[in-house]
Amino acid sequence: MESQIELQSEDIQGKANAKLVRFIGDLDATNVETVIEKTFNLLNDGYVNIIADFEKLRYVNSTGLGILLHFSKSAKEKGGSFKIANVNENVYEIIEIIGATSLLEIYDELDEALESLG
């Protein structure tokens, strides 16, 4: 069994190739499988632009960060993007500590991330 994480995906109005994915819980080594499966399924189904809402993501460790970086890379390779919004202070600190703020597209607010889709 794994640490609790839930991903809820929603359509984004006016963007056929994009999805809003809400991350809820903790992201660590025990549940990357769930996250990989759901996110890669979206990418492979043509939803190459993903907005990840981290408002309810309480915790992420280095394994989780590695996965997020991989999503970002995979989305770009498919001509899309992986954008993150509403990162809490604690999670942001960890991303900042390892220097990933320049590698991930992070927005303060969800609206900003949605607008950046153009």
Partner: protein, 170 residues
């Protein structure tokens, strides 16, 4: 106990020590890290301190399980000692190969250059975790004891140390 050039407050109350030994399997780590965080909260450490400690324990235990647990019955031991002004963690495992030990020592001995680690694809996830531990801690030491157990000892100061009577609420 104080590290190079660092001074810690002399504590009046006795340190509180908790020890946990669990099977060397990743699935135990979420419960253990949350336990450590909650221990700190009930002992009047700040929520920020508890969160950072949770990260430290997570990363070190992940490392211990992946590299230091070779048999089905391998266990990991975590000792948490809460002082007035700091927390000490010690995580022990049965130990991996010589290569793993060297990798561990190299990861925690990296010089503090003030430059954030660069993620250029060459750093493995394992190295990243220990790098985070190093950056969140005042001291990190790797030891191998007489029983060939590898242990990582971490000291992290309490954020609000020195603010008597103004400890952050749980």
């Amino acid at each position: 106990m104080p590290g190079k050039g660092r001074r810690y407050l002399m504590s009046e109350s006795k340190p509180q020590k908790v020890k946990i030994r669990f099977p060397g399997d990743l699935e135990y780590i979420p419960a253990v890290r949350k336990f450590v965080a909650e221990l700190l909260l009930v002992n009047q450490f700040s929520s920020k301190c508890a969160y950072r400690s949770e990260i430290i324990i997570d990363e070190i235990c992940n490392n211990a399980v992946v590299y230091g647990c070779r048999t089905a019955d391998s266990q990991v031991e975590v000792v948490c000692v809460m002082h007035e002004d700091r927390i000490e963690f010690q995580v022990k495992d049965a130990g991996g190969s010589e290569t793993d030990l060297k990798r561990l020592r190299d990861a925690v001995a990296a010089e503090e250059s003030g430059v954030k680690p660069i993620l250029d694809g060459r750093k493995s996830a394992a190295g990243l975790g220990l790098e985070i531990v190093r950056l969140l801690s005042e001291e990190v030491n790797v030891e191998v004891d007489d029983n060939n157990l590898t242990s990582i000892r971490v000291i992290r100061r309490r954020e609000d140390a020195g603010t008597c009577g103004e400890k952050k609420a749980v």
